[in-house]
Every structure is written in C-alpha cells, then in structure tokens.
C-alpha cells in the first residue's frame, strides 16, 4: 500500500510540474520574440514610451536638450487627458525628462481652462495627445505632442 501511495505521489507531482511548464512556457516564448535593438541608447526605455504614447519616433535625448534650454527656475505645464492612458503616460515621461524644472500636470477641460490664461509665467506648455487651444502660440510638434512657448 505504501509503495502504491508513493508511486501515486510521484506521478501526481510529476504531472503537476509538467503542467506548470506546459502552461507557463508559451507566454515566455512569445515574450522572447521581441526584436532586439542593435545597441540601445541611454534613453531607450523613454524613447520606447514616447514612441508608443505619441505615435512618433521621438528621441528623449532631444527633448532633454530642449527642456534644458528653457529658463531654469520656471515651471513646465503639462496638459494631459487623465482618462486617456497614452496621454497620461506621455505627460509623465515629459515630467521625467523635464528635470530640473518643476512641473505641473494639469487635466484638460476645466482645470486647464483655469490655468491657461495665467500660464505666461511658465517655461513651456506641453500638450499631450491634445490639440493646442488657439490662444496659445504654436510650438514644436512631436507626433501627438506639442511643446509650445507660453502666451505673451
């Protein structure tokens, strides 16, 4: 009896192990099929996020240079649509890249309408996945994103 139980025990745990491998392997295999970048850049994750969120191959390094040229202590206003995860991600990546500037992420709609008339003190306005209002001067367009100077 003990011998039968032991054999059953071995069969049970072997079957469980095989099932675990059989169910777990396909997601891992599909994950390994991603194309490998020949030599990733120092900003390769941010580049990838920007491409995904802005639908355009934007180089994060270029944005870092752009933000660095803005007047230092001034705030960067980032306008996003918080219900849209792409727009929100784009806003966060811009906030990440805009250091050392302080940033403010503002939701589109009433929140943005309240702040735009007094946004002349900002270093720049970044519209993420949103159209720029007419009262804001045009800026540089990067896919679904536009970086504008503050209104005069």
């Amino acid at each position: 009896m003990q011998r039968v139980l032991r054999i059953a025990h071995v069969i049970l745990w072997s079957a469980l192990a095989v099932t675990l491998v059989a169910l777990g392997a396909p997601p891992i295999r599909s994950s390994a099929n991603l194309p490998r970048s020949p030599w990733p850049t120092a900003y390769y994750s941010a580049d990838s996020f920007l491409w995904f969120a802005a639908n355009s191959p934007i180089r994060a390094e270029g944005l870092v240079g752009l933000f660095a040229r803005l007047p230092a202590p001034k705030e960067v206003l980032i306008i996003v649509k918080k219900t849209d995860s792409r727009s929100l991600l784009l806003g966060m990546v811009n906030a990440y890249l805009a250091a050392p500037h302080p940033v403010r992420i503002v939701n589109s709609g009433a929140e943005a309408r309240a702040i735009l008339p007094v946004s002349h003190a900002a270093a720049a306005l970044v519209f993420c996945g949103l159209a720029r209002p007419d009262e804001i001067p045009p800026g540089m367009i990067f896919g679904d994103m536009e970086i504008c100077p503050p209104p005069p």
């Binding site: 169910l23 900003y43 906030a95």
Partner: protein, 471 residues
C-alpha cells in the same frame, strides 16, 4: 565594451561589499555554499551600497560621495576576504542528472539576462525607480529636496525607499552618465540570486538536491515572475523584494535548528522596508514570525534586539521623508472605524478577485493550485513549528495586502486591485514553491536524494529536514 567592463567592476564592488557584510554576520558560525554566499552578497551588497549612498549623500556631494562609498565597499570586501577561511564546497558528488538540471538552470538565468536586454523598463521601472536614480545623479548623488515636494511628480511616489534606485545610481557613478539600458542589469542578477537561494533552501529542507534544482527551474515557468507586468525583467522592485523576503523566511526556518542563521534572518529582515514600501508589511509578518520562533524555541531574549535594525530603517526613512516635507499620494483612506464600516462591503468582491487571481493560469500557470496542495500536505503530514511559520509567512501577507484594498481611495478599487495584486502575490510566490517542493519531496525515498557530505548542504545539521524527520 568599455561600458560593459565598467559595469562589471561596479557590480563586483556591490558583490564585494555584500560578501563582507555576510561574513560579518556569519562570524564563522555558519557554513554556506559559494553560490549561496554570492546570492546573499548581492542582496546585502545592494542594500549596503544604496544605504551608504543615501546616508553619506546627506552630508557630501559630488565625486567625494562615490569615492567614500567605494572606500567602505573596499573595506567590506577585505573583511569578507579575510573572514571566509572555510574552504569552498566542492560539487564533486553531484550526479549527471544534477549537472543536467544545473545546466538548465544556468541557461534560464542567461535567458533572463537576454529577456531583460530586449525589454524596456516598465512603467514603474522608469517612472518610480529609475527616475530617482537619474535625478540623484543629476544632483551630484543625492535627491534634490525640491523633488520630494514636487506635486507634479507625485506619480513617481517620492515616498518609496531607495534600495533599487540607488543601486542603479551606483552604476551611474561608475559609468559617468545615466543609462536606462545598464540600469536594468541589476534585475536579472536578483533573479539569479533568487533561484540560487531557492535551490539551496529546498535542498536543505528536503535533503534532496534535485527537488531544489527542479523548484528553481520551475520558477522560470511562472510567467508573472519571468515576463509578466512587474516581473524580474522590467525593472520593478517586486521581484527583488520577493527574493529578500524569501531569504528572510528561509533563514528564520533554518534558525530553528541552526542558531547562526538568525543573524542572516535579521540582516535580510532589515532590508525589506528599504526595498519597497510594501516591505513594511512583509517586515511586520516576518518579525512576528521571528518573535514566535524566539519564544517557542526558547532562544535568548537578546534575539529580540536583532529585530530592531529593520525598525530603525523604517524610522529613519520616515523621519527623512517628514524632514523633506514629502508629497504623499492619497491612494488609501485612513484606517478608521467609520471607514471600515463604510467600506466593509468590498470584502467579498476583493476575496473573489483574489481567488480569480489564483486561477489566472496565464499569469501563474498552476503555481497556486500546487501551493494549495502543498499547504494541505504540510498541515496534514508535517505538523511542526516550521510548517506553521512557513504558512503564516505566505498567507499573512496575502491577507494583509488584500485587506489594504478595502481602504483604496481609487474611484474604482477593483481596478486598483487588478493593477497591483499580481505583483504583490509575487512577494510570496517563491515561498509557495518551497511549500510545493516540501510536499513533493516528503514521500520520496531517501536513496533518491541520499544524505551526503553534501556540496549543497554545507552544514551537517541541515540533514534534519521536515521530510526526513517525518520519515
């Protein structure tokens, strides 16, 4: 190529300082395998280096900061070199089958490095963790105080601790620039450390090497851990935290018979709140288990003092956050009687969501049914203190994590749960494999995993495993 060499040297300093730390903890009272020593060296090294950068960064900045940290790392490496006079354990009595399993395990670790290199950092990997490393690097080694008060960057959770970002910062110091590609290399190393610790722990507990090796191999086939959101390859802190928690609990279990292990338990326990904020919950559970072990095994009351370093880390970090007037995200409402009453109707949906997560085979394969079966077996056949501690260490965090969603401040608390519960379960998943491994190994005949002079089980006392005792 130059960057690769620099990164290897930087990683070696992390390992060296961790090696010294674990030698100081061991005090020659405990024999560990070389792979086990290296795995622990990585855990302690990441903790020590990040903490040194944080503490020294409060006083000094610029090139002096990495210089000073490097000097301490060198001293610790020297201590480790001098302290480990016990000979390295040979692998000569491994059988062909064991070698085959080891080759598979090594191939999996290499695959994890490959997968890590082709995936980018995940959302939290970039916007919670790497962001801190980058900002600290741009500010000469310390996070600028303005960052902690920056409402606009509250998405990056300024209150999260610095073990992971400051280990990345250490690489940036060596590289001389920020680099999101190299920052990610620390995560497959945590994976390697995790599988080594898992294999060694199960081998000690069951007395069967192949059970340990097979469990470590199976960890790779749990998609949530290998490739899922928050997995070991996308730069999240959850897997490093799970490795540290695993080490804490397994050293506590070993300390029941090997008193020297209690120091390692205390060391890894102190790291838990330093890796991630959720580590405080794990610290609470592991410290409670530690207190139980001290009382039930009649250890000296002095052992209670060993629980204090973790408390000190929690206190220091929270004091620092308060001094910096840190912005906090209001993800949870306060735990008050009124909130408990008004949110109590969430209990059943949360419980069913938890059960659904256990049945999510795409994320977990059949890990949780195996753990369930193992728990049943442990309660039925191996009723002893170690089984109780192990089960508490697995189920208490799951209950506490689930309970936190009762107080979620998100408009849709179930969405909050679905975005994070899988990652939280990762913290106890390696321990779940220990339960399954113990159950699987308990009925096997001893000739399958003969007691030996043991290349894996260095300490003779480790032969008295629950399985062996039961047999």
């Amino acid at each position: 190529v130059t960057s690769s060499i620099i990164v290897i040297v930087a990683l070696a300093t992390v390992l060296g300082s961790g090696y010294g730390t674990q030698s100081l903890l061991a005090r020659r009272t405990l024999l560990l395998n070389l792979p086990e020593k290296l795995a622990l060296s990585w855990l302690f090294g990441a903790g020590v280096i990040s903490m040194l950068i944080w503490i020294f960064g409060l006083i000094i900045r610029g090139p002096l900061l990495p210089g000073l940290v490097f000097c301490v790392a060198l001293v610790l490496t020297w201590v480790g070199w001098r302290g480990n006079v016990s000979p390295a354990i040979s692998f000569r009595d491994l059988r062909l089958f064991h070698w085959f399993l080891l080759v598979v395990l090594a191939a999996q670790v290499v695959t994890m490095f490959y997968l890590s290199s082709i995936h980018t950092l995940g959302w939290d990997g970039l916007l919670n963790w790497e962001i801190k490393a980058r900002y600290a690097y741009l500010n000469n080694g310390a996070l600028p105080p303005s960052y902690f008060q920056d409402q606009g960057r509250s998405f990056s959770h300024q209150e999260y601790p610095l073990c992971i970002p400051f280990t990345q910062l250490w690489l940036y110091f060596w590289l001389g620039e920020t680099d999101q590609y190299w920052a990610k290399i620390i995560f497959p190393i945590f994976y390697a450390a995790g599988v080594v610790l898992l294999a060694c722990a199960l081998t000690r507990f069951t007395g069967k090497k192949f059970i340990g090796f097979v469990a470590a191999i199976l960890l790779f086939f749990v998609p949530q851990i290998a490739v899922g959101g928050g997995s070991a390859i996308v730069g999240y802190a959850d897997f490093p935290l799970s490795v540290c928690y695993f080490a804490t609990v397994t050293f506590l279990l070993r300390s029941i018979e090997e008193p020297g292990c209690f120091r390692f338990y205390a060391g890894t326990l102190a790291l838990l709140p330093w890796i991630k904020r959720d580590g405080v919950i794990l610290w609470l559970v592991a410290a409670t288990c530690g207190a139980l072990v001290i009382m039930l095994t009649r250890k000296s009351r002095k052992h209670f003092f060993m629980l204090l370093p973790g408390l000190l880390v929690i206190g220091l970090w929270h004091g620092y956050l308060r001094a910096m007037h840190t912005t906090t995200t209001e993800e949870f409402v306060p735990v008050t009687l009124a909130n408990i009453q008004s949110h109590s109707q969430r209990l059943i949906p949360i419980a069913s969501a938890l059960l659904a997560e256990f049945r999510n085979y795409r994320a977990w394969s059949i890990l949780w049914p195996c753990v369930g079966l193992g728990c049943f077996y442990l309660l039925w056949r191996l009723r002893q203190l170690r089984s109780v501690i192990l089960l508490v260490a697995i189920f208490a965090p799951i209950c506490l994590y689930s309970a936190t969603y009762i107080f979620s401040n998100w408009p849709d608390y179930l969405f909050h749960l679905h975005t994070s519960l899988g990652r939280l379960l990762m913290h106890v998943a390696p321990l779940g494999l220990v339960v399954a491994g113990l159950a699987a190994g308990a009925r096997l005949p001893q000739r399958w995993g003969r007691r030996s002079s043991s290349p894996i089980c260095a300490a003779p006392v480790c032969e008295r495993t629950p399985g062996v005792e039961f047999a």
